[in-house]
Amino acid sequence: MKTKNNKAWFFVLPVLILVGISAIIPLMTVVNYSLQDTFGNNEFYWVGTEWFQEVLHSERFHNALQRSLLFSGLVLLIEIPLGIAIALAMPRKGIGVSVCLVLMALPLLIPWNVVGTIWQVFARVDIGLLGHGLSSFGIDYNYTQDIIDAWLTLLLMDVWHWTSLVVLLCYSGLVSIPEVYYQAARIDGASRWAVFRYIQIPKIKRVLLIAVLLRFMDSFMIYTEPFVVTGGGPGNATTFLSIDLVQMALGQFDLGPAAAMSLVYFLIILLVCWVFYTVMINYDQQQAGNEVGKGSR
């Protein structure tokens, strides 16, 4: 049981100051911009919720939002099952474990624009292995022109880049399952599927939840990689929310609408994460409850 002690605030203070300065001041700046209009010279005019109304009703925002949601959805649908499958196939001990971990973690530590560069080069029809290979098989592939090809390239890149994170998380959950559980399953003659469904899935539920959360957040915020590979094209086909946002804020300098859009964008992410967080806390309490229940018996 934790002790109640408000002096603990002193321990939290450094973090609070550090994160507070780099989070609250910029956030307030964004809020400021979203409610005002400017004609240069540092003169600002109060416009109320005008920018928000404009953004929420604009076709451009709706389209970018749809693209981002579709991308995140597809990413989760592919990476989570694939990650679980590969984690299950990993060896449990021996030299193979280290080799697998090091090789798999490699894409995670490549700077994001280098990831973009790697795939841009890899998928090019003239000098890339993938592009050249596909066209020599007679497949009409060109990610700079064809919308479907561009999407497939970006999805493949994201799978390449991030599936390992799901694998690592699931693997850490799997190795923490005590051997006794498997022995018990063997004695009961449980099928492979039953072991997976009733032992492995419940035990890795927590890390799986975290994997889904992290993958959702990061794919929803993705900027650098698609920017390098497709630059948002062909046309606007891969202009996700963050690309659109940076274009609006730094390219066209439309600060008001960009700020309003930022806040809406942030609120969407916050809402989804709050739901996840609540589910996770409830799950923890349920687990704790179960354990207390066992103890009293």
């Binding site: 973690a105 690592l168 957040m217 942030f266």
Partner: protein
Amino acid sequence: MKSDNKLGKRIVLSTYIGFLMLPIYWLLNMSFKTNQEILSTFSLWPQDFTFDNYLTIFTDPSWYNGYINSLTYVLMNTVIAISVSLPAAYAFSRYRFLGDKHLFFWLLTNRMAPPAVFVLPFFQLYSAFGLIDTHIAVALAHCLFNVPLAVWILEGSMSAIPKEIDETAYIDGYSFPRFFIKIFSPMIASGIGVAAFFCFMFSWVELLIARTLTVTDAKPISAVMTRTVSASGLDWGVLAAAGILTIIPGALVIYFVRHHIAKGFALGRV
């Protein structure tokens, strides 16, 4: 039956790892080719093997300074993030205090903030303090998403240590700082390692904020890549070599923490 199963697993694993390595191999392959060869012939390995691309990088200060800049702010960020997160994580794992749950969630929301949202305000904030184009500006800005993560991981590994350890140490007459450094820190060493690994990783791979806050003196290598490449008319060979060199620090870090990754993930609650 059993061996079939094992063979299947092997095939799944090696296909996946092959898929991961293929694009990296292609980049490595290109980095040893001359530009002419890259554009004119298609070959699975370099026909005209050359180190010129790497030489360009190691002799041109605007290239190799990029690596030094990146490593400087990444290391600064890791040190700052871990040292402020340790006491905070201890407070979250050991005490209940006014608003603790809200504070924890607020911290996590910062990990969820899209960098695109913060780019412009960050630029204005750091210009106001005259910190643009310094390493410390990038290190501090990256704390926004690294500190919450570090607190989260450290809190998990600290909660795995029974509270009785603390109490026994106090009874034995240890003061808090001495207890924390001498007894507690070694016990959560792998948690600290994993937290440092993640701070390093997320700071090393981030580009948008790092690029916005720097002009020349502290420009990260990944930003140097985008600029120089477009200026010199797409020098594919040098681009590939620079890309390969950005993979190396990450590979080294993974190699050092390889025993802790799996354990740390399970132990910390990430």
